[in-house]
C-alpha cells in the first residue's frame, strides 16, 4: 500500500467520526498546512522518477480533492448547524412596536395653492406675489374703486393708520396693479395669498386666502375667460364634466363682470361637485376695466383681457369636505393631522393633483 492510500484511508475514517469545528480545522491543517501530509507529498513530485511521476501526481490530486471536499462538506454541515442553533435562540417578538416615528403634514390651504399653481402652470400662467400690507391706492383707487364708492362697503377693511392710507389687503387684486406697473403686457399670472376683512363668524374669517388671475393680451375675450375657468374647475375637482353658470354681476375693476356658480348636489351628506340642481357661487371674474388698464399705463385700445378672484379656502373645503372655515386657522392637532397632506404628495402635472 502506497503512502498516499494510507493517508487517504486513515483520514477518511477519521472524518467519518463525530468532529467539531476545531478538530476539523486541525485535520485540515494536518493535511494541507505548510508541512501537512498532503502538502509534503506535492513536494515529492519533482524528485520522483519520471516514469511514475505522472501517475503519482494524478493519484495525489484525486486524494487531495476527495479529502478537501469531505472536509468542506463537514465544515459546512457544522456551520449550518451552528447558525440554526443560533437562530433558534434569537427569535424575537416582531409584533412589538417599531421605533416611534412622527408624520409631518402640509396644511390643506398650502396643498390647494400648489394644486392651483400646477393647473394654471399647464396653460402658461406664472405665479406673482404682493405684500399683505397695501396702500389704499393699490387696493381700491387703482382698481377703479375711488373713495366714497359704495363698493368699498363690501370690503370691511383693516386699517393701519387713522388716515386710512395703509391697510391689510382685502383681496389679491392689488397684485394685478403691481404686476402691470412693473412689467409690460402681455400678462398671464396668478397670485395666491392671504387676504383680510374685518369680519368674523361661522363662514367668515378675518383672514382668508384668494387666488387672483390676470390674462392681458391683444385679443383676449370673454370666451377665453370662460374656457380658462371651465378648464380650471374641471381639473381642480378632477371631474370630466362640470356644470357651470356665468351670471352677470358687478365689480368696479371689471366690466363686464360675472359671478360663477357650479352645480352640486348633496348625496348621503356628502357634496358632489359638478352635478345636481343646486348652485354654489365660487368665484368672481370679468374683463379688466379700461379705467384699471389706464391707471397702470396699459393702453386699453391695444390690450384687453380678463381677471378673476377665487376663494382658496372655499375651494379646499369643497374638494376635501371640510365644514368649518374657522378650523383652518385653529391649529388643532387632530384637525391638522386629519386634513393635512403628506409632504411627499406634491401636486404635479405628471403624477396628478391628488392620490
Amino acid at each position: 500500500m502506497s503512502d498516499l492510500k494510507k493517508i487517504r484511508d486513515e483520514f477518511i475514517s477519521k472524518l467519518k467520526g463525530k468532529l467539531d469545528l476545531a478538530e476539523l480545522n486541525q485535520i485540515k491543517s494536518d493535511l494541507f498546512g505548510k508541512n501537512g501530509l498532503v502538502s509534503s507529498q506535492f513536494k515529492k513530485i519533482g524528485i520522483i522518477d519520471f516514469s511514475e511521476r505522472k501517475k503519482f501526481a494524478s493519484d495525489l490530486n484525486i486524494i487531495k480533492d476527495e479529502l478537501q471536499d469531505l472536509i468542506n462538506l463537514k465544515i459546512n454541515e457544522i456551520e449550518k448547524a451552528n447558525i440554526n442553533e443560533k437562530l433558534e435562540k434569537e427569535k424575537i417578538d416582531v409584533t412589538l412596536p417599531e421605533r416611534s416615528f412622527v408624520k409631518g403634514k402640509i396644511h390643506p390651504v398650502s396643498q390647494t395653492i400648489d394644486e392651483i399653481s400646477s393647473i394654471f402652470s399647464e396653460i402658461g400662467f406664472s405665479v406673482e406675489e404682493g405684500p399683505d400690507v397695501e396702500n389704499e391706492y393699490n387696493n381700491f383707487t387703482a382698481l377703479n374703486t375711488p373713495d366714497n364708492h359704495p363698493a368699498r362697503d363690501m370690503h370691511d377693511t383693516f386699517y393701519l393708520d387713522d388716515k386710512k392710507e395703509r391697510l391689510l389687503r382685502t383681496h389679491t387684486s392689488p397684485v394685478q396693479i403691481r404686476t402691470m406697473l412693473k412689467d409690460k403686457p402681455p400678462f398671464k399670472i396668478i397670485a395666491p395669498g392671504r387676504t383680510y376683512r374685518s369680519d368674523s363668524d361661522q363662514t367668515h374669517s378675518p383672514m382668508f386666502h384668494q387666488v387672483e388671475g390676470l390674462n392681458i393680451d391683444k385679443n383676449i375675450n370673454m370666451g377665453h375667460l370662460k374656457g380658462c375657468l371651465n378648464y380650471f374647475i374641471k381639473e381642480f375637482f378632477e371631474v370630466k364634466k362640470i356644470k357651470m353658470r356665468f351670471r352677470p354681476s358687478h365689480f368696479p375693476f371689471t366690466e363686464p363682470s360675472a359671478e360663477v356658480d357650479i352645480g352640486y348636489e348633496i348625496n348621503d351628506g356628502k357634496i358632489i361637485i359638478g352635478e345636481g340642481n343646486q348652485w354654489l357661487e365660487i368665484l368672481g371674474c370679468g374683463m379688466v376695466h379700461p379705467n384699471v388698464l389706464k391707471n397702470v399705463k396699459v393702453d386699453p385700445t391695444k390690450f384687453q383681457g380678463y381677471a378673476f378672484g377665487i376663494g382658496i379656502d372655499r375651494l379646499a373645503m369643497l374638494k376635501y369636505g371640510i365644514n368649518d372655515l374657522r378650523a383652518f386657522f385653529d391649529c388643532d392637532y387632530r384637525w391638522l393631522n386629519h386634513f393635512g397632506f403628506d409632504p411627499l404628495d406634491v401636486p404635479t402635472n405628471y403624477r396628478g393633483l391628488s392620490r
Binding site: G124, M222, S249, P256, F329
Partner: protein
C-alpha cells in the same frame, strides 16, 4: 331689494310663471338671494268662536274659555280680555304659532294652575291695528269660517334681490321691470301720470345756498293743504306688508311706496312746523338735531342740511327730524323731492354712522329727472287718500342736469365678448333699456338714460348688451397648453421646498393669522416697532405679528391643553417689520414640545432638545442646497431664546445675514404664558436671507470625483478651556491640509474626572485620504503632527495622551 311678482306686474305685462321670473332675474344680473312665503307662518291663526266662559278659579281678572276652533273637541284657553264672552267670534292662535307683534312662539302653558291651549289674539298682537284693548271681534259673517285660517294666503312670494351698487335704478320695482322687459320677459307698461289740479302757488320759500361743497343741486317741493292723515287703505298696506315694510300712516306709506316703486325718495314735512322757509345749506360745526330715529346727532361742519329759521330740520337725503315730522293730526304738508350728491351723502352718513333707505339710494345715484314725476305721483295719491289741495310744484336748482351721450362702435361688442349680435338687436335692447339712439356713419350715438349713473363709456354699453343677451351665449374657448415663462421664481421654489422639507421632518404645518395678541407679540418683538391695527376684530388680535412664535406658542399651548404632549408644529409666512407695503419678511418658524421616545420599550426616553431643532434646520438647509460644511454657528440669539441654549446659523464664514436661529424658548416666557410642557424648542429660518444660487441645479453639480486610495481614520482628544467651541477646533483642523483631510467629526465631549475643572475634552475623528497616492506611515505621522500643532497653537488646547 325686496319685491313681489304681483308688484312687478304693475309695470310688466307677462304670462310667464314665477319660476321663470326667478331664473331670468339671476340671468340678467339681478341675483335672487332668497324667496320666501310670508303667509305660511300666519296660516296657523284660525277663526274661532267662544262657546262658554267661566271665571278662573285662582284669578279674578282671568277667564277660562271653551273655544270652538273647528275641531271635534273644544279647546280650553285662558284669557284676560274683558270682551271675551260667550258667542264671540275671534282669532285663535294654537301652541306653536308665532305672535307677529312680539315674535314669540306660543306654548301650552299653565296660567295660575289652569292649562291654556293657545291664545285668543288682539288686533295689535296680530299687527292688524294698534287696538290692544280686548281680543279681536269678528262679524257674524265669519261664522262659516270657523276653523279656517284667518289670513288669506298670499299668492306672491317675497323675492329678495341682491342689487349690485352700480344699479340704483333697480332699487325701484319699475327699474327691475324695465330690465326684464328688455331681456324679453314681458312688456313694460308705460306709467300713466294722473292729472292733478294745481290750485295754489307753493308759498313756502325754498332756497339752496350756493356754497362750496353744497350737497344738494335741486330741490323740488309742493304744499298740500288741509289733508287728513289716516291709516292707509288696505291695498297700500298690503303692498307694503308684502315686501316686509310696516305701514305707519297714509302720508308716510305713500312716500315709501313711491320710493320702492320708482326709486324716488321723498320726504314729507309738517308745513306748519317749518319756521318761515326752507334753506338748504352746509351745517355749522356743533349743530344738533333730533332725527326720526329719536337720536340726537351732533353735526360736523359742511354736512348738507335742510333747515329753517330755527335750525336744522333734517339731513338732506339721509334722515328727517322729529321737529317737522308728520303725524296723524298733520294738516298741511310740504312734500320734498330733491337731488343730493352721492359723495356728500356718503361722507355725512359715514361720519354719523347712519344708514337709511334714502341714504342707500342717494349714495348710489337717483334719477335727477325724477323730481317732478315723484312729486306728482305722491301728491295725487295723497290727495286721493287724504284729500287736500295741492300747490304748484316748485323746483329750485343751482345747476341743471345735462344728458350724457356715448359714441358706440357696434364692432367693439364681439371684440370683448367673443360672439356677435346683430345691429338691429343691439338697437332693440338699448331702446328697451331707455337709451335714445341716433345712427351716425361709424357708430351709434347713444343718449344715456338719466336713471343710469353707472354708464359712462363704451365698455358699459357692451356690458348691458351681453347681460341682456345672456351670458350663456358666451362661447367656451379652451385654453392652449403652452408655457413661455417658468411658473415659479427661484424664491418661490425655495419657499415650497422649505415648506415640504420641514413638514417631512415630522412638523405639522399650521396657518395662523397675520395679526396676534399684543401681549404675546411683546415677548418676541425685540426692538421691532409695534404695528397696531386701527380697527381690530378684537383686542386680542390687535397687532401685526413681529414673529410667528407669538401665534405658534399660543396654539402649541392650546394643543398641550388638549392633552397632546409631544408635538411639532410650524408655519411659513409673513412677519412684519413696519406698516408700509413691503416691510415684511418670510419666515419658516417651528416649535417642538415634549419628549422623544416617550413610553418606548426599545429607546431611551429624553426631552426634546436644541440639537433636534438644529438637526432639522441644518438638514433642511442642506437639502435645499446649502453646504453645511461651510456653515458658521455662534450663540448670539434674540432675547426670546434661552441665552445659553440657542444658536444662530450663517451660511458661511462671511457672517453676512442670519440664515436661522434655533434653541430653547426662554424659560421666562414659558412661565409667563403658563405653557405645560417639559421643554419647548424653536427655530426660525429667514427665507430672504438665504442666498439664491445663480446657477441652475445642473450647473451646481460638481464634477464627480472620488479617491480610491486607502483612507485612514484617526481619533484625537484635545483638552481645552471650557469656553472654546468645538467649531473652532474643526475650523482649525480643516485648514491644516484641506486636500488630505476629507472628514472631521466631533464624537465626544467630556468634562469631569481626570480633566481640570475649567476644561473639557473634545474627541474628534479625522479622515485622511489623498487623491494621488496611498499615504504611508510617514505621511500620516506628518499630518497628525501638523493637526496637533495647529490645534494646540491656535486654541490653547493640549492633546490628551
Amino acid at each position: 331689494m325686496k319685491i313681489t311678482f304681483d308688484w312687478l306686474k304693475d309695470h310688466l305685462k307677462t304670462n310667464l310663471k314665477e319660476k321663470n321670473l326667478l331664473e331670468q332675474l339671476t340671468n340678467i344680473g339681478l341675483e335672487v338671494e332668497s324667496v320666501e312665503n310670508l303667509s305660511s307662518d300666519n296660516q296657523l291663526f284660525k277663526v274661532a268662536k267662544i262657546i262658554k266662559t267661566e271665571k278662573h278659579p285662582n284669578a279674578d281678572r282671568l277667564k277660562v274659555c271653551d273655544v270652538n276652533v273647528g275641531e271635534k273637541e273644544l279647546k280650553k284657553v285662558v284669557c284676560g280680555a274683558t270682551n271675551a264672552s260667550e258667542g264671540l267670534i275671534t282669532i285663535y292662535a294654537p301652541p306653536g304659532a308665532i305672535i307677529p307683534k312680539t315674535n314669540t312662539k306660543l306654548e301650552i302653558a299653565k296660567i295660575r294652575g289652569v292649562t291654556s291651549y293657545g291664545m285668543l289674539c288682539s288686533e295689535s298682537e296680530l299687527n292688524l291695528s294698534d287696538e290692544s284693548d280686548g281680543i279681536t271681534e269678528l262679524s257674524k259673517k265669519y261664522e262659516k269660517n270657523i276653523g279656517k285660517s284667518y289670513f288669506s294666503k298670499s299668492k306672491s312670494n317675497l323675492i329678495d334681490l341682491s342689487i349690485t351698487p352700480n344699479r340704483p335704478d333697480c332699487l325701484g320695482v319699475k327699474g327691475i321691470a324695465r330690465d326684464l322687459a328688455a331681456s324679453g320677459f314681458g312688456r313694460l307698461i308705460a306709467s300713466k301720470e294722473k292729472k292733478i289740479k294745481f290750485k295754489t302757488k307753493q308759498t313756502l320759500k325754498v332756497k339752496i345756498n350756493k356754497e362750496k361743497g353744497q350737497g344738494c343741486s335741486a330741490f323740488g317741493s309742493c304744499l298740500i293743504k288741509n289733508v287728513k292723515n289716516t291709516e292707509s287703505p288696505q291695498w297700500l298696506k298690503d303692498k307694503l306688508i308684502s315686501v316686509g315694510q310696516k305701514p305707519i300712516s297714509a302720508i308716510v306709506d305713500i312716500t315709501n311706496y313711491v320710493m320702492l316703486d320708482i326709486n324716488r325718495p321723498l320726504h314729507a314735512y309738517d308745513a306748519d312746523k317749518i319756521e318761515k322757509g326752507i334753506i338748504i345749506r352746509n351745517s355749522k360745526s356743533g349743530e344738533e338735531f333730533t332725527a326720526l330715529d329719536n337720536k340726537i346727532y351732533k353735526l360736523e361742519k359742511g354736512m348738507c342740511v335742510i333747515s329753517d329759521n330755527k335750525g336744522v330740520l333734517g339731513l338732506g337725503g339721509i334722515i328727517g327730524g322729529t321737529r317737522s315730522g308728520t303725524e296723524f293730526d298733520t294738516k298741511n304738508i310740504l312734500l320734498e323731492s330733491a337731488y343730493f350728491d352721492p359723495r356728500s351723502i356718503r361722507n355725512t352718513a359715514k361720519k354719523l354712522n347712519l344708514d337709511t333707505d334714502a341714504k342707500f339710494r342717494f349714495e348710489r345715484g337717483i334719477d335727477p329727472l325724477s323730481i317732478e314725476t315723484g312729486l306728482k305721483k305722491a301728491a295725487s295719491l295723497i290727495q286721493e287718500i287724504c284729500g287736500g289741495e295741492v300747490s304748484k310744484i316748485d323746483i329750485q336748482k343751482i345747476e341743471s342736469y345735462k344728458t350724457k351721450t356715448i359714441n358706440f362702435d357696434v364692432n367693439s361688442f364681439e371684440n370683448i365678448v367673443g360672439f356677435k349680435i346683430s345691429e338691429k338687436e343691439i338697437q332693440r335692447i338699448l331702446t328697451d333699456l331707455g337709451f335714445v339712439i341716433k345712427k351716425e356713419k361709424k357708430f351709434l350715438k347713444l343718449t344715456i338714460p338719466t336713471w343710469r349713473p353707472d354708464i359712462s363709456q363704451q365698455i358699459d354699453i357692451i356690458e348691458e348688451l351681453v347681460r341682456i343677451s345672456g351670458y350663456d351665449k358666451i362661447k367656451t374657448i379652451d385654453p392652449i397648453k403652452d408655457r413661455s415663462k417658468s411658473t415659479l421664481t427661484q424664491t418661490q421654489r425655495l419657499f415650497h421646498f422649505l415648506q415640504r422639507a420641514i413638514a417631512s421632518k415630522g412638523y405639522l404645518e399650521t396657518i395662523t393669522w397675520s395679526f396676534t395678541d399684543q401681549s404675546y407679540n411683546d415677548h418676541f418683538r425685540e426692538t421691532n416697532k409695534e404695528i397696531k391695527i386701527v380697527n381690530p376684530i378684537s383686542s386680542e388680535l390687535g397687532v401685526l405679528r413681529n414673529s410667528i412664535f407669538s401665534n405658534l406658542i399660543m396654539y402649541m399651548s392650546k394643543n398641550l391643553d388638549r392633552g397632546f404632549k409631544d408635538l411639532s408644529i410650524f408655519e411659513i409666512g409673513p412677519v412684519f417689520t413696519g406698516s408700509n407695503p413691503g416691510e415684511q419678511k418670510t419666515v419658516v418658524s417651528g416649535l417642538s414640545a415634549g419628549k422623544k421616545s416617550r413610553l418606548s420599550w426599545i429607546d431611551k426616553e429624553r426631552n426634546i432638545d436644541l440639537f433636534d431643532a438644529k438637526r432639522d434646520v441644518v438638514q433642511t438647509l442642506s437639502e435645499a442646497g446649502y453646504d453645511s460644511d461651510h456653515f458658521f454657528i455662534d450663540s448670539k440669539t434674540p432675547n426670546y431664546y434661552h441665552p445659553g441654549k440657542s444658536g444662530r446659523i450663517f451660511l458661511d464664514h462671511s457672517k453676512d445675514k442670519v440664515a436661522a436661529y434655533f434653541g430653547e424658548i426662554h424659560p421666562n416666557i414659558l412661565k409667563k404664558i403658563d405653557i405645560k410642557t417639559e421643554n419647548l424648542i424653536g427655530f426660525e429660518i429667514f427665507l430672504e436671507n438665504l442666498k439664491l444660487s445663480r446657477k441652475t441645479l445642473k450647473d451646481q453639480k460638481l464634477k464627480f470625483s472620488v479617491s480610491d486610495f486607502q483612507k485612514s481614520e484617526r481619533d484625537f482628544a484635545f483638552v481645552v478651556n471650557k469656553d472654546v467651541e468645538a467649531q473652532e477646533l474643526v475650523s482649525v483642523i480643516s485648514n491644516v491640509s484641506p486636500n488630505l483631510i476629507s472628514n472631521i467629526k466631533v464624537f465626544d465631549v467630556y468634562e469631569g474626572e481626570n480633566i481640570p475643572d475649567n476644561q473639557k475634552s473634545i474627541a474628534i475623528s479625522i479622515t485622511i485620504q489623498s487623491s494621488e497616492k496611498t499615504l504611508n506611515d510617514k505621511d500620516l505621522e506628518k499630518i497628525n503632527n501638523s493637526i496637533i500643532e495647529a490645534v494646540e497653537n491656535k486654541t490653547g488646547a493640549k492633546i490628551r495622551s
